[in-house]
Amino acid sequence: MARKFLPQIATGNDLLEGDVVYFTEQGDWTRKHSDAVVAETPEQAETLLGAATLFPHQVVGVYLADAQLVNGKPAPVHFREIFRTKGPSNYFHGKQAEV
């Protein structure tokens, strides 16, 4: 069964800081999921992954993740990606604690 294509964003972890980052339309990296650039076709997704993996000395473990558009901005779909935008559930640490 072919899986329905969902919009994709590219994400990884910052090499120095370790925190979660997303690839932007400007070809840079952001801490905010809503600022990520969205690939809307499989071809765009392939291009996006290619572009995002060109920063081996800045970002590691780059992969594509499913996204959905909420008010025109990308939001995570899978619970793992939702946790990555927030931080752990047992303490108010990580992204949820950052302004």
Partner: protein, 553 residues
């Protein structure tokens, strides 16, 4: 306790310097991420879900007050004011930055600590009975053996790039508190008919995707042959273990696929050759190690009668105290599992309290157990009341050791990059559901263990009740196993059936416990005994009432 020789101290400093250089070479492009990753892992540094994580080695779970105080300092200076005790008797910091890690390692070296070989496909930090040198049931102290193995396995040039990680555990007591049968090598200290000391050697145990109870490869190994025999096992494993599939690379799979007898023959052949080729271990080194584990000078104060125990202290004495070799001493287990808390988490403030208590009342010794608790191994009974008072002030007095809320839980998807579901909130909710300590005492001995993925860091396979969190079509789902046992009567738990959703798992556990209370023969029959008597069916009936009805119809 073992204290560093000049060689140990210089070695650890050299490794910190080396890692500092490796970080620089990663940043300047000399090392690719693929090349750097195993190097940082061998220095305890993971890249997790939200941040890096540093796993600090606590060899066989033993540390002193100054070391614990330094861990508190590291938690405050470079992390978020707490540490997480692991099922491998280590401590993890969840929020370090890559650039700070060499400085953290230097701070560890200041107190004779390090993070070497706490990860990677090498011989990992050796574990042992957390009551070593103190337990009343101990035949032989496992720590000198564990220390010898630590020295032998550290930076071993032949065994740093094994097919997969390799874990060794040692116990010197008939009651196995070190889960030795779930390790790549488990060593049980025994004596032969002539009364000579040696080891029963078990290989191929492990949890994870393919849980296996270890098998005896040698009934009796004379003590002097230990390192040559370990070298033989490791050499056979390094050369013949599978490298084509990470999930089939542990020695348990080699044992399974080759057969114990064939593998044993290869090990014995290599060992016979090694015996003539390897130089014997220097007697001076062995003597120095043995001397460092001599018992402390026992305090011979009288044990006072305490006429009026308050209820809290009485239940603490009931559950958190174990019998010591010296009748006027006790082993105190400090629970890191307050109701609703994160199992294994200790704040820097609590670390300092524990360091103080160790220095004042426990001959400057602390232990970390694989059950994620902290132990004061040598406490004079006259000091128990004052220790309880200090623990209560620090929120470390929960009287639940061995009870339903003394839960093992891995970090799960709140922290771990490998996790498929969360573990911590499940543990928190179960402990809240059974918050009444009196009711917990009535339920009695019950070990719940939770893993957030198939790798089983939470030891769910050997929990009386095991919980495994999985990702089922994008939703967290929890499978239950029953009847697991991590002791000398080790057994892998059996799956009950389909899993439960995140909001259904706690009620499911409550149904199991209630069913146990209904069917146990007496309050003395522990959960595991009841399970062994009646089997899984009565528990399945309460877990899956729907299918029950369907069958009856």
């Amino acid at each position: 306790m073992y204290s560093y020789s000049n060689f140990d101290a210089a070695f650890v400093r050299d490794r910190v310097k080396e890692f500092r250089g490796q970080v620089e070479r990663r940043l300047d492009g000399s090392l690719t991420e693929d090349e750097f990753k195993p190097l940082r892992l061998m220095n305890g540094l993971y890249l997790q879900l939200h941040a890096y994580m540093l796993r600090v080695a606590i060899p066989y779970g033993t540390l002193n007050g100054a070391q614990m105080r330094q861990l508190a300092h590291i938690a405050d200076k470079w992390d978020k004011g707490y540490g997480h005790l692991t099922t491998r008797q280590n401590i993890q910091f969840n929020w370090p930055k890559l650039k700070d890690v060499p400085d953290i390692l230097d701070a560890l070296a200041d107190v004779s600590m390090h993070a070497i070989q706490t990860s990677g496909n090498c011989i990992r930090n050796v574990t042992a009975d957390h009551f070593a040198g103190a337990a009343a049931d101990e035949i032989e102290d496992p720590r000198p053996t564990a220390e010898l193995i630590r020295q032998w396995s550290t930076d071993h040039p032949e065994f740093a790039y094994l097919p997969r990680k390799f874990k060794v555990a040692v116990t010197g007591a008939p009651n196995d508190r070190a889960v030795t049968k779930a390790h790549d090598i488990g060593l049980r200290m025994v004596r032969n008919k002539a009364g000579e000391p040696g080891y029963e050697v078990v290989i191929g145990g492990g949890l994870g995707r393919t849980p296996m109870i270890g098998k005896v490869v040698r009934d009796f190994l004379p003590r002097a042959d230990l390192l040559a025999y370990l070298e033989a096992i490791l050499q056979v494993y390094n050369l013949s273990g599978r490298r084509d599939n990470k999930y089939k690379a542990r020695i348990k799979i080699l044992v399974h696929e080759t057969g114990l007898e064939e593998l044993k023959a290869r090990i014995e052949e290599t060992f016979a050759r090694n015996q003539t080729l390897l130089e014997p271990v220097d007697a001076g080194v062995v003597a120095r190690i043995n001397a460092s584990f001599a018992p402390p000078e026992w305090d011979r104060r009288a044990v006072p009668d305490i006429p009026h125990l308050d209820a809290g202290f009485r239940s603490f004495l009931d559950t958190n105290i174990a019998a010591h070799k010296q009748s006027d001493y006790a082993i105190v287990t400090v629970s890191t599992k307050p109701i609703g808390g994160t199992p294994g988490d200790v704040t820097s403030e609590q670390m300092r309290v524990l360091a103080d208590l160790a220095e004042r009342y426990s001959h400057d010794e602390l232990r970390i157990s694989h059950e994620q608790n902290v132990i004061l191994p040598h406490v004079h009974r006259a000091d128990l009341a004052v220790i309880y008072g200090r623990l209560r002030e620090a929120g470390l007095h929960t009287a639940n050791i061995g009870l339903v809320s003394d839960i093992i839980a891995c970090p799960g998807m709140d922290y771990c990059a490998l996790a498929t579901a969360r573990s911590i909130p499940v543990a928190q909710k179960i402990s809240e559901a059974f918050s009444d300590l009196q009711a917990q005492h009535d339920i009695g001995d019950l070990k719940i263990k939770i893993s957030g993925c198939i790798n089983a860091c939470g030891h769910h396979h050997v929990g009386h009740i095991g919980i495994l969190g999985l990702d089922r079509a994008g939703v967290e789902n929890y499978q239950i196993t029953l009847g697991g046992d991590g002791t000398e009567t080790a057994a892998i738990g059996e799956r009950t059936g389909p899993g439960f959703a995140y909001d259904e798992i706690v009620p499911a556990i409550e149904r199991i416990v209630n069913a146990y209370l209904d069917i146990r023969e007496s309050a003395e029959e522990a959960f595991l005994d009841t399970y062994r008597r009646v089997g899984a069916e009565p528990f399945k009936a309460v877990l899956y009432p729907e299918s029950n009805k369907a069958n009856a119809a």
